[in-house]
Symmetry: C2
Subunit: 207 residues, 2 copies
């Protein structure tokens, strides 16, 4: 089963990393990089185009314009596309892991870890295994995102610096309600104010 070549699709918005990863993976004789996408949407478009070379592995970043890697994974799951998804992202946002697992990804790697581990991870996933960066195992089953949808949205806008009123307008809520949500969010996150709450939520990948 290891004699057949593994067809890889890369999705990464940082052009430099995208190209460099392509070069790195092309060094492996059993890998073929069939497509390099700049965002999740491009990747999905390619995957759904039956006239293209079939893909075995999707290696994707999370934070990308148009469509994030997590949304891509969710789409792949919903459409039941015959590919394994492998997330390659930055450490900080630990909350992403859970969402990624829920989206049925086969692996979750960190850009921090040495590049030598990448090929092995891809082969493992290709043969049906799961891979999770060891750094994440520790605090993996940390607190799950305690925020409601509205709280999350309000925090996101707070993070941008919007006032209560401005947030209310955007979300079609009264200013008072927004204040309540932010107050709730802050107490859930044990923050002293909306700003700290937004920062915490952001760090955990909950925004």
């Amino acid at each position: 089963m290891s004699s057949k070549t593994i067809n890889i699709l890369l999705a990464e918005d940082q052009g430099m990393l995208l190209g460099a990863l392509g070069a790195l993976l092309d060094l492996e004789p059993d890998f073929t990089v069939v497509y390099k996408a700049n965002n999740g949407q491009q990747a999905l478009d390619y995957l759904r185009d039956s006239s293209q070379t079939p893909v075995n592995i999707v290696l994707t970043d999370i934070e990308m314009p148009e469509m994030t890697g997590i949304e891509l994974a969710e789409q792949i799951q919903q459409l039941q596309l015959p590919v394994k998804t492998l997330i390659l992202t930055t450490f900080s946002r630990s909350g992403y892991l859970r969402r990624a697992m829920d989206a049925g990804v086969s692996g979750y790697l960190l850009k921090e870890s040495p590049s030598e581990e990448l090929a092995a991870a891809i082969r493992k996933v290709a043969s049906g295994g799961k891979v999770i960066a060891p750094e994440l195992m520790a605090n993996a089953w940390m607190e799950r995102d305690p925020l409601t949808d509205k709280e999350r949205q309000a925090l996101r806008l707070t993070f941008e610096g919007l006032s209560t009123e401005a947030i209310g307008e955007k979300l079609f809520l009264s200013a008072g309600t927004v204040r309540n949500y932010l107050s709730n969010a802050a107490s859930k996150l044990q923050a002293n104010n909306r700003v700290e709450a937004a920062r915490i939520a952001h760090q955990n990948g909950w925004l």
Copy 2:
């Protein structure tokens, strides 16, 4: 002048990108990656070690632990090491460009731009030229950082979610003074409140 091989030192804390860039550059027959450092300090140590292979080009990220790429460039300038420095970093912090130029770097590239441009940029710098990512030329001579030292510090702490009082304690200032500083900063940055001001300053690399 193009027949001699160009010796490159890479400095980048993201292991994955470091390794991948190594693979990418090794594809070029006239390039040799002689060392891969995880931070500025490692890079500098190598450069100062006369028993090591001499380096022509230092390709470095900015935000790294131990020593940033800008600090590395400054050291190289001060020690008058015979290498050209090329910065490779992320778009957002546009204020970095000025500091980098002051540190005498020969080039400033973006991780966003396509990897195909990298080799050409390195060759150009190796032969004495300067390279600046076109995206930056536009807003390069944008407003210089208008913040005073205290305003900057106050904004940094605001960004972390600290209250006026807490900031005052950290900076040994009265709460009122902190409020004044933040008020000033906000008006300088045309922000409606401290949070927005902190966000703007952060985006511009002023924190």
